[in-house]
């Protein structure tokens, strides 16, 4: 057991940390468009330095980083408060799924523009009636000359308004059972049959979109992983969504907790025994989250399968982030309730943490069924 970084891991971190010190682009400009342009530029710079798609194999323009290195990457980016990449979904999900299930031609066609942020990707999985129960999705694809006509509605499609490609799962066989008969497509967003409408959240911002498809056309060569294999392909995508996020999440929540402690000191409640207990509980939970994430990674690297602890970080992260933002608002009393107070946005945004990327209820089902082996509810 050695919780220090190996010489290689150390070297990876020091190099990245040094590079970030020299290349950090500073504060992101306000305004959606300016912000997006800024993140595109940032990703290009990352790509030139070989820091886009660190998890991708080298032959596809990535860095072939180990899980540990990926986690270090996430931690360092959070530590440096670096902006996120413009094409985050392409890097985290799009590339890996093309690499895992794509044909040679598809790899040639899609991977490089993802890394360079020339083509932005979005994800078309969730539907209004299919949230946790993804396999029940209704969007249907009908065969027609050399391709498919797709009709339906998707929701929660981040970045759809600036995306070239959408990772779309649609039903290609109405008669097959729920999980069969789904196909994974790469949808060209640049067509009139695709309408994007911003979806405002309770914070007032529009971080997400709704996607309306009216006979949108997808050529056969844009099927990924074969017709009818959509469920299997989608699952691997979602796996990639999880892996290594824990360490990064822990790092960013630790930063937030540091700000909370500053706030408590500013507000003169750092000596309040109740506030101290509340903050200490959060600090402990974050440390446990961080350690569970790292333990999970080392277990995968050793055995190929994640240990039980690997299923916990998402659950813990949402609870901690909700708890710390609630406490930050409470500490400010009436001042904390002003619409534009520093913490208010984060406080409201955190309500989605226990829903997005797997609701707390679904995650507990997964833990009890797959990790603990309890019977599935039938």
């Amino acid at each position: 057991m050695d919780l220090t970084l190996s010489p290689n891991e150390q070297a990876f971190r020091d190099e990245l940390r040094g590079w970030l010190a020299d290349n950090h682009p500073g504060e992101e400009p306000t305004g959606d468009e300016a912000g997006f342009a800024f993140r595109v530029e940032w990703q290009k710079r990352l790509h030139e330095a070989g820091y886009a798609g660190v998890s991708w194999p080298e032959q596809f323009g990535g860095r072939g980083a180990t899980l540990i290195e990926q986690a270090i990457y996430g931690e360092e980016m959070a530590r440096a408060k670096a902006p996120s990449s413009a094409n985050v979904l392409g890097l985290v999900m799009g590339g890996p799924v093309v690499i895992a299930h794509g044909s040679e031609e598809q790899k040639q066609r899609y991977l490089e523009p993802i890394l360079s942020a020339e083509e932005i990707w979005c994800q078309g999985f969730s539907e209004p009636d299919s949230g946790s129960d993804l396999a029940s999705l209704k969007t249907r694809a009908v065969k027609s000359n050399g391709g498919w006509n797709v009709t339906g509605q998707k929701v929660w499609t981040t970045l759809a308004h600036v995306s070239k490609w959408c990772m779309l799962v649609a039903r290609t066989d109405q008669d097959a059972p729920k999980h069969k008969g789904l196909t994974y497509f790469l949808l060209d967003m640049e067509q009139d049959a695709v309408q994007v409408r911003p979806l405002h959240q309770i914070t007032g911002e529009a971080e997400f979109n709704e996607l309306f498809l009216e006979e949108a056309y997808i050529p056969d060569e844009n099927v990924l992983g074969g017709v009818g294999n959509g469920w299997a392909v989608a699952i691997t995508t979602l796996m990639h969504e999880r892996a290594g996020l824990g360490a990064a999440a822990a790092a960013s929540v630790k930063i937030a907790l540091g700000q909370l402690i500053e706030l408590a000191n500013e507000r003169g409640v750092a000596g309040d025994p109740i506030v101290r207990q509340q903050i200490a509980s959060l600090l402990i939970e974050v440390e446990a989250l961080r350690l569970n994430a790292w333990r999970g990674l080392t277990a995968i690297m050793k055995t190929g399968v994640p240990g039980p602890e690997g299923s916990l970080p998402k659950l813990q992260w949402s609870a901690v982030n909700q708890g710390l933002t609630e406490l930050a608002v409470a500490i400010q009393g009436e001042d904390g309730l002003a619409k534009d107070s520093e913490w208010t946005y984060r406080f409201l945004r955190a309500r989605a943490n226990s829903i997005e990327g797997g609701t707390t209820e679904i995650l507990k089902n997964i833990i009890s069924e797959r990790v603990l082996g309890l019977p599935k509810l039938r």
Partner: protein, 340 residues
């Protein structure tokens, strides 16, 4: 021993439920809230019905009823999430009615009862009220600080609008320029009634969001079942019921005690507001979790309730502050200042 409302009280509740349901349909609440404004006709109508003066002496133009009747109205105003400057006006009225001198009462209560010269009230720190509801439309403002209350003419105050997360109500920061005029007597009986009124509003908000959740849990299907059939959801709803009914019970108790058993009011009011402040957040945020993604969208009405509940939870004392008061009134000795 009888918890039932009198026929008159039941009539008030029915009228309020029906009228408010018509006036404050979800679209109307949304439209007013998104503009952060009120419709004067709404308030005028409530004033004509005598709601604004329901607890005010008849000699001052009120109906001379009690805190129970006020609580009934407040619960319905919370249930309908009515964007209308009622609470703060009532709070100022309670302050003057129960702690004002004869002169102060005859000067201000008639305008508060008729709604023609509205009042506003809030807690102050270093003489300044940081979040006073509807101060910008009030003629008279009452600020409470350290167990004392002072009355200010609105034009003697610098009133800076504050956009709170709750868009269903207008708020302002109030900086009095002059000294103001001290309330004649101990404001505690007024503050206890105000806390009870806010608790009643929270009861209505919780009742409504619980009903929305149960309704949604019956309709929404995932994995071929209504989500309300899953204990993760159904037991969450059962917990909502526990909080809603417990808050309603303690609030009615406090409202009843206000006139019938004044010696019980301080403890009952502290318990009611502590219970309501917690329930307000627990129930509305739990309702959001039941609704999942859709509950997180601006298009859904839930967030308007959640945000008002959050603000109401802090107005006139947080759950923690009221629990501390409960401890003090229950044989645990004097309060220890927060921060040790």
């Amino acid at each position: 021993m009888n918890f039932d409302f009198t026929d008159d009280q039941q009539a008030i509740k029915r009228t309020a439920r029906d009228l408010l349901a018509q006036r404050f349909k979800p679209e109307a609440v949304r439209e007013l809230s998104e503009a952060r404004r009120y419709d004067d006709a709404h308030f005028a109508e409530l004033a004509d019905l005598g709601w604004t003066g329901i607890f005010i002496d008849e000699e001052h133009g009120g109906q001379g009823l009690g805190t129970v009747e006020l609580a009934i109205l407040m619960e319905e105003l919370g249930y309908s999430l009515a964007p209308v400057p009622f609470l703060s006006n009532a709070a100022a009225g309670l302050a003057l009615q129960h702690a004002g001198s004869d002169e102060q009462r005859s000067r201000w209560l008639p305008g508060i009862a008729s709604g023609e010269a509205r009042g506003a009230a809030g807690l102050a720190r270093d003489g300044e009220g940081s979040l006073v509801a509807d101060a910008d439309s009030a003629a008279v403002i009452v600020l409470f600080e350290d167990g004392a209350g002072a009355v200010y003419e609105a034009f003697d105050c610098e009133i800076e609008p504050v956009e709170a997360i709750d868009a269903t109500r207008r708020y302002a920061r109030v900086r009095p320029s002059g000294e103001g005029e001290a309330l004649a007597s101990d404001p505690a009986p007024a503050l206890d009634r105000i806390a009870t009124a806010v608790a009643a509003e929270l009861t209505g908000i919780c009742q409504r969001t619980m009903e929305m959740s149960v309704e949604y849990a019956r309709e929404r299907k995932q994995f071929d079942r209504p989500i309300g059939a899953y204990q993760a959801v159904s037991h969450r709803c059962a917990d909502m019921l526990r909080e809603v009914e417990s808050t309603r019970s303690t609030t009615l108790w406090a409202a009843w005690a206000a006139e019938a058993e004044p010696e019980t009011l301080p403890l009952a009011a502290a318990m009611a507001k502590a219970s309501a402040s917690d329930a307000g957040w627990n129930v509305t945020s739990s309702a959001l979790q039941v609704h999942g993604g859709i509950g997180f969208t601006w298009e859904h009405d839930l967030h308007f309730f959640l945000k008002r509940a959050k603000v109401d939870g802090a107005l006139f004392g947080s759950a923690r502050e009221h629990r501390e008061r409960v401890a003090e009134l229950s044989g645990l000795g004097a309060a220890v200042p927060a921060g040790g």
